[in-house]
């Protein structure tokens, strides 16, 4: 059994590593081009924004398509990697985009004037700007990949269901058999492999990326190196000849954008929306002939999806949506109340940051949906504890987004502002209320926006999970529960209908609520570029 587990862990990791590598590569290309070119920005970012809101189940049809067009056997693997990619790509792309956006226009102009080669431009401007952002997001991507581990290893093909070999499917099998020793061994092996990945790959990367990092303006006079980081000081000592340059660039960035604004100006601009529509029209014109050739199939598919909507009942879908949305909102409140104090403490004490952060990251990476069925006995007491269990599980899936954004928001309080609080001996509350919280609010709202998307995705897993006789589900309605049941019954039209409902709802809430809240917070805080 041990051997079986180890092979499964290795297989899962191979897929995750491949998906991560593709994600980073694609994120660098897409993020940097959108970040520096207004034209690309207008087209790509809204598309990413929409795609990001599509739950992983929504990508199943595409995955199946990928499957069908690729070689047999390998096709399933490709489909699985594709599904993992849909869990790891978006946050990376947005992080790279944000990093590229924070490069001052003057830097880009200087590069243009001095005719810097593409290689130098990447090496001296883009990489320093986006590298730390990528490294910061890797844990989030990794934990997301593990969160949806089981989901991405089971590919539903209409009536049939294909399971690729991996630790996710193996644990599911053990769960169905009631083999708890197997599950325990599988989870421990997974946890150990994640810890190893942190120690051997991520920590050195984080440590290496510190040279490009200027968030914390005032490092302590003498930095004590915590044990866990001490292992990597040797890597740190590699001197980069570009360092002075990067320091200067970062200094510039800091001055020009004391508070980094994530650009979300594309919302609400008619011109940009028009360009987006034109893009869609062009796409239709190209895809049109092919669709037309199979027009009957298309109509049949559309009709069956619409019929599924009627069959399921708009009212009951609405009810499920309302229940799930309340869960999402409670989940956000929970994540925020956990993240604010911890992030605050970490940003105040860089020593704590270096020890606590890796531990939190490792915990965040554990595949909680697989751990949950085991401790679910805990939550079986009644309706409330099941609800609590589901909300807890959802929070575990996306708390990282909120936490990290909050932390990076607090880190934007640069040294002189921290000193103000000490000079005037402000109480902890005043310091938080008047200095830290306003500085971090834009970042926190951005984190909440991302986390809402994440929480919606986890709804599918959290409202109903398990295998065979061990099903753990909420007793009230929920859109995720509904989707999970539909997927199990291989009701593809019904599934597509609910995915569309969820996606549209998430996008609407984003546009009508979150973006407004973001704009409002920027205005209310009077954050202008000159500080």
């Amino acid at each position: 059994m041990l051997w079986e587990v180890l092979v499964a862990v290795a297989l899962s990791w191979a897929r995750i590593a491949a998906a991560l590598a593709i994600s980073v590569f694609a994120a660098v290309i897409v993020g940097i081009y959108s970040g520096i070119s207004r034209r690309v920005d207008r087209i790509v970012i809204p598309i990413l924004d929409v795609l990001q809101s599509v739950p992983i189940l929504g990508f199943f049809p595409l995955a199946v398509f990928v499957l069908a067009s690729a070689v047999p056997v390998l096709g399933y693997e490709i489909a699985s990697i594709f599904l993992i990619f849909t869990c790891t790509f978006w946050n990376l792309a947005f992080a790279v985009y944000e990093g590229a956006r924070s490069i001052p226009q003057s830097m880009i102009e200087v590069a243009e004037l001095s005719k810097l080669s593409l290689k130098d431009r990447f090496g001296k401007i883009y990489v320093p700007a986006v590298f730390p952002k990528i490294v910061d997001q890797l844990p989030a991507s990794l934990s997301n990949a593990f969160y949806f581990l089981a989901a991405s290893e089971v590919i539903a093909l209409g009536e049939a269901e294909v399971r690729v070999a991996g630790i996710g499917t193996l644990i599911l099998r053990y769960l169905g058999m009631g083999n708890y020793t197997g599950i325990a061994i599988g989870l421990v092996a997974t946890a150990l492999s994640i810890i190893a990945a942190y120690l051997l790959v991520l920590m050195p990367l984080i440590s290496y990326s510190d040279r490009y990092r200027f968030d914390i303006a005032q490092p302590p006079a003498v930095q004590r190196t915590p044990m866990i980081m001490g292992l990597y000081t040797r890597i740190k000592s590699i001197q980069s000849p570009l360092r002075m340059e990067q320091r200067r660039i970062a200094g510039l960035t800091h001055r020009v954008f004391p508070i980094q604004l994530v650009n979300i100006k594309y919302v609400g601009s008619d011109v940009k929306r028009l360009i987006f529509i034109v893009f869609i029209v062009v796409l239709l014109v190209f895809a049109g002939p092919r669709i037309y050739a199979n027009i009957d199939d298309v109509w049949a598919a559309v009709a069956s999806v619409a019929a599924a909507g009627v069959r399921l009942g708009i009212l009951s879908i609405g009810e499920a949506l309302a229940y799930s949305f309340s869960r999402v909102l409670i989940c956000l409140a929970l994540m925020l109340s956990i993240s604010l104090p911890i992030a605050y403490i970490i940003s105040e004490k860089p020593d704590v940051r270096n020890t606590l952060l890796p531990i939190l990251q490792i915990i965040a990476s554990l595949p909680s949906p697989l751990i949950f069925p085991i401790i679910s006995g805990f939550f079986e007491g009644g309706i409330y504890s099941r609800e609590l269990g589901a909300i807890l599980l959802m929070s575990l899936g996306s708390v990282w987004y909120v936490f990290y954004s909050t932390l990076s928001g607090f880190n934007k309080v640069h040294g002189e502002y921290r000193e103000l609080a000490r000079l005037y001996r402000l109480s902890g509350f005043s310091k938080f209320r008047y200095i830290y919280l306003p500085f971090a609010t834009p970042s926190i709202v951005t984190g909440l926006i991302t986390a809402t998307g994440g929480a919606w995705n986890t709804v599918i897993v959290a409202e109903r999970l398990g295998e065979g006789g061990r099903i753990f589900e909420v007793q009230t309605p929920g859109l995720g529960k509904l989707m999970s049941v539909l997927a199990e019954m291989a009701d593809t039209p019904g599934l597509v209908f609910t995915v569309i409902v969820m996606t549209v709802f998430v996008i609407l809430v984003n546009r009508l609520l979150w973006r407004k809240l973001y704009d409002y917070s920027i205005r209310a805080l009077r954050i202008h570029e000159q500080l």
């Binding site: 510190d210 000193e419 000490r422 005037y424 001996r425 005043s430 008047y434 954050i527 000159q530």
Partner: protein, 255 residues
């Protein structure tokens, strides 16, 4: 000089910052500086020589690696409302009005009533000639006005010692000249409580314009190259020959 004349003293102060590779960069070494009661002390030195570091140590924001800071006869441990520091940049909070920004300095004070605090804020607003702007937000103000708000915030606590970190370096020459004049006016306003000032700058002229005594820093780690008393009568004339001679003398010490 007898001890009773000294408000603040740095004794054998050494400080440095750790570099990323693990070694320590010494910025100042065995520095001894005395600030007398009621004195306007100027410290000049090239950029990056450690001036801001010295002010932070004087303010109790940084504990030096070695050496002690004596304030009013006692070892200084941490910040105190008796010492104010005005940063190189105005560091105003954009979400607070001018009045609220100044009030921030009094927020934690338990020895004043709310009324007294409000009164002090209004007083200071008047002093820096910003009455009428109390409800404005920092982004609505010019650079010089922001600097004056920062000055008001530093003074509202009635400090014994005011530390100024290059207060004019971010301003255009005309604005900085008018601000220098204002500061000079305040300095000689005998109706205000007496106060000692330490001003650091890399601009020799503005220091000679204001200071009673100038300490010239240089080298790495920085040490005191010279101490120059400025005995010109006030208000000082930038175009006078003695003024020019003093600026020249200090300039040749640095370069």
């Amino acid at each position: 000089m007898s001890n009773s004349e000294i408000l603040l003293e740095l004794r054998n102060v050494t400080h440095g910052y750790s570099l990323r590779a693990g070694s320590t960069l010494k910025v100042i070494e065995n520095l001894n500086i005395q600030v007398r009661y009621g004195e306007f002390l100027g410290i000049v030195g090239p950029s990056g020589c450690g001036k801001s570091t010295i002010l932070r140590i004087m303010a109790g924001l940084i504990k030096p690696l070695s050496g002690t800071v004596i304030f009013r006869g006692e070892v200084l441990n941490g910040t105190t409302p008796r010492i104010s520091l005005m940063h190189q940049t105005p560091t105003l909070l954009p979400w607070l009005t001018v009045k609220e920004n100044i009030y921030l300095a009094l927020m934690a004070r338990k020895d004043l009533t709310e009324r007294e605090k409000q009164l002090k804020v209004s007083e200071l607003l008047e002093l820096v000639e910003l009455s009428g702007y109390e409800s404005a937000y920092p982004y609505e103000l010019s650079g010089g006005m922001r600097q004056r708000v920062a000055l008001a915030r530093a003074l509202v606590t009635d400090p014994d010692l005011l530390l100024l970190d290059e207060p004019f370096s971010n301003l255009d020459p005309l604005t900085s000249l008018s601000l220098i004049r204002e500061l000079e006016g305040m300095w000689f306003d005998t109706t205000l409580p007496p106060i000692s000032v330490v001003m650091v700058s890399h601009n020799i002229e503005e220091v000679v314009m204001l200071a009673d005594r100038v300490i010239v820093l240089g080298g790495r780690p920085a040490r005191i190259l010279a101490e120059v008393p400025i005995e010109l009568s006030r208000p000082r004339n930038k175009k006078s020959e003695e003024f020019y001679r003093l600026v020249d003398e200090i300039f040749s010490l640095i370069s």
